[in-house]
Symmetry: C2
Subunit: 374 residues, 2 copies
Amino acid sequence: MKVETLRWFNNRLEMIDQRILPAAFEYLSYDSAASVAEGIRSMVVRGAPAIGVAAAYGVALEALRLSQHLPPGRGKDGMGVDFENDSTPSLTLPLQGGGDVDFKEGMEEGFKVLAASRPTAVNLFWALQRMRKVWESVAAQSPQQTAQRLLAEAHEILAEDIRINKAMGAHGAALLKDGARVLTHCNAGALATAGWGTALGVFRSAVEAGKKISVIADETRPFLQGARLTAWEMVQENIPVTLITDNMAGHLMAQGEVDAVVVGTDRVAANGDVANKIGTYMVAVLARRHNIPFYVACPLSTIDLSIATGKDIPIEERSVEEVKGFRDCHWAAEGVKIRNPAFDVTPAELVTGLITEKGVILQPDAQGIRKLFG
Amino acid sequence: MKVETLRWFNNRLEMIDQRILPAAFEYLSYDSAASVAEGIRSMVVRGAPAIGVAAAYGVALEALRLSQHLPPGRGKDGMGVDFENDSTPSLTLPLQGGGDVDFKEGMEEGFKVLAASRPTAVNLFWALQRMRKVWESVAAQSPQQTAQRLLAEAHEILAEDIRINKAMGAHGAALLKDGARVLTHCNAGALATAGWGTALGVFRSAVEAGKKISVIADETRPFLQGARLTAWEMVQENIPVTLITDNMAGHLMAQGEVDAVVVGTDRVAANGDVANKIGTYMVAVLARRHNIPFYVACPLSTIDLSIATGKDIPIEERSVEEVKGFRDCHWAAEGVKIRNPAFDVTPAELVTGLITEKGVILQPDAQGIRKLFG
């Protein structure tokens, strides 16, 4: 089955609710910047590239809504703006009539609430920047024309993301030998993108190229993206996949059961330091100890040249509730303090190669990364 | 509150059911070798030293039962022999009259079923060996006298375990500086022993010595001993404790938030290689990268001189059900393969020191370990 993580349907953005996968497969519907921002914050959609595409649609939806003088909507399923968490009260007020001033103010609010949804994934800011450029380029046009132009751009960002993933997949597949047992952490799959995936896109491309590979998926506490999403995607594709808890990766490497590691990333600094799901750093350190290549599937939109090193990448700390258990299952002892950093930084020196749509950069460093943009 | 993991009550062994902690605090009751073996297998009791004490009582209970010609019992709560899993059908048949021959055969069966309960913790075999020696030393006596002698030995093993833990605690506490933030993995606490604990015993002794330390507890998937048991024990003692998922330890070390690591062990080979809960090896590799001391609290009964190196330590693979979720909460995608090694091996070169009741062996190796027994 083809996984359509985000789709445009009936003038709304629909996103698979990744919080309930694989127990249930359901689309939620979004029709405003604030509702999309809440969907990103609450991790209905997650994964850096998917967040970027969602944000682009959020901007387009806000333009459509404002150009039609509609109140901020809620998803038809009751999802959408969570007023308790809504950081943009102004959006919850009916607009004072139409007109370009209100449109402009509303759009600025929309950009603001989307930018505030999650701090670590740079694709979010990359997509908002790209949408803003388009918006400014059509400033002279009517809100209705502007909204259509922004929607066209969001569609293009989605299509582009899939093209880029397939290009990365082809480059990455060449790095995996037939029969390779490849470990991945979290979910950098179709569910983390508009489709195909970054790390899992490499696996899909390898299989498409006739290579017999098998995947080892870390379960990835606390949100369990590996156990729920990566395992589910690989089962859908009939790619052999074995689930382990996060603390088993070192043992399997020591036993000689891992040939390579491929992960995704949420932001790469100008020097090649990689921010990705918490636990990625531990896998990288272990891969180095066991001389196992550690690859990062990284579209250019994930590289942030404005950030010199990983030290400057903001690391999101999420709610402690996520660590107390999972969903309605709580097991942590009462009264214990809890930490919940959602990401960590893997220094460039531990990265064997960055897999991009323009090719693979081995031993990435500031110079090699600059070349990509030259 | 003082945690009595195992206690002798009303001519039965009672053990805290660690599968339901911290949600519920309950004792289960055991009156035969097979029921104790099932309690060990199903992890009502876990932790190498606690398993050793439980096995010793299992032998004594079997002797009492056989000397009174009683059928194999079930715990008063319905726990005890699980006939589906019972590897000793002969124990479930009424004995053919009394007499020393039946007694001897019954006792051999009891030793066998206890030895088969879990493969990795050497304390189990150490305790059984010790009980067998006592049994052989009183071979001439009546079953009743033998049973009383074996029960006395079990009581002594329990008392000794607590004395040893306090001696280890004193030696280990000296290694921790005031204000130290100490990371531990799994539960090597009072719940893993007859009381006080090995790794957590070091923390208790440090606090008793007036040091302000704080503990970082890995949650320890899949059985969650860290989130459920270590966090619970430290909260009981008012020792500051912070819970993290297993994949966060590397990030905290990289952030400079960990001053030392102290863990327990299930078996140490003659060369100092350490078998402990799955994930311990990853913590050791990360500690080395960050120059953080990595200590193993290890009573002499956990050192197995008959095993040259960690490669020869049998690693238990447990049911895949444990990895699919926790208790009634299932989240793993249908159709995924699963691995569940319960332990891993940390090479001696990564161990800063073994904390034993006879003192600390720094950079443990075969020679240093032999000296302990000299």
